[in-house]
Symmetry: C2
Subunit: 160 residues, 2 copies
């Protein structure tokens, strides 16, 4: 898709925009490989117990988040746009193969740009309405997405 | 996307599969050009009063259907996959730019294959659940989509 089509609206959407000192090729790899992703994708002590990445448009993106108390929260959606090392878009409004889902919540857009020797990392969550944005804020978007970005950077520096 | 990802389920989905004696390039053109589309896209005496086609992934597909009594029914969604003369996928589960919509109902898949001097025309509607399929059946999918296909063929033969 054309990047111009992405229009975050402050009333509806949430954006995390930060420069990190790891190369974007590794960020991309950590984001799109289940074996890497499960190590950083949720704020510890939460964990990922299952994860599938079918990196095609319409392909599956599935993961199960497990709370410290052992409760599991499955998520399933599909990829909409894939430009390696640059842009990844997925949504839970559509299941794999583009079937509308029963519980649409948000579309996620990850964009990566080189910034010096590091990467400008922009993660955007598009919601259908203000209630969606507020719910995501209350679930801890700001802190949660920031924490996992720290975890991602640490993981890349120490394990990749 | 890979065609293999499209998996219609008889319980959830509806399919119209017919060979028509018009070339697929004209079917494609009639499907993706608002000036053509408004002439055949709803069963007469219904009409299309407004139509926009932004033929990019994530781009807008909008149309307003008007009943014979003058009631208007706006539809808005976005394109997911565009392979000229072969495949067009759009959904109302996402607004243009991939924002989740408030009233997701279905994803439509149009596939066109050459068949002799004509075209095999397959239109598939994917729903999130059986209730969605039943609702679409009761709205007259079978007769409605068949009627507009007849209108499309007539339009191509007489006006294009």
């Amino acid at each position: 898709m054309s990047v111009a089509l992405i229009k975050p609206d402050p009333k509806l959407d949430l954006v995390l925009d930060r420069v990190v000192d790891v190369p974007r090729e590794l960020v991309w790899k950590a984001w799109t490989t289940p074996e890497h992703l499960r190590h950083w994708f949720v704020p510890k002590p939460w964990s990922i117990t299952d994860c599938a990445v079918d990196l095609r448009r319409g392909g599956e993106f599935r993961f199960v988040m497990r709370s410290p108390e052992g409760q599991e929260f499955p998520n399933i959606g599909c990829f909409l746009d894939i430009v390696p090392n640059e842009r990844l878009i997925w949504t839970d409004a559509l299941l794999p193969g583009y079937r509308p889902s029963e519980k649409p919540f948000f579309t996620a857009i990850l964009t990566l740009e080189p910034s010096g020797s590091g990467t400008r990392y922009v993660a955007t969550a598009l919601h259908r309405d203000e209630a969606g944005r507020k719910q995501h804020e209350e679930m801890g978007f700001e802190e949660g997405w920031g924490t996992v970005l720290n975890q991602l950077v640490d993981y890349i520096k120490t394990k990749m």
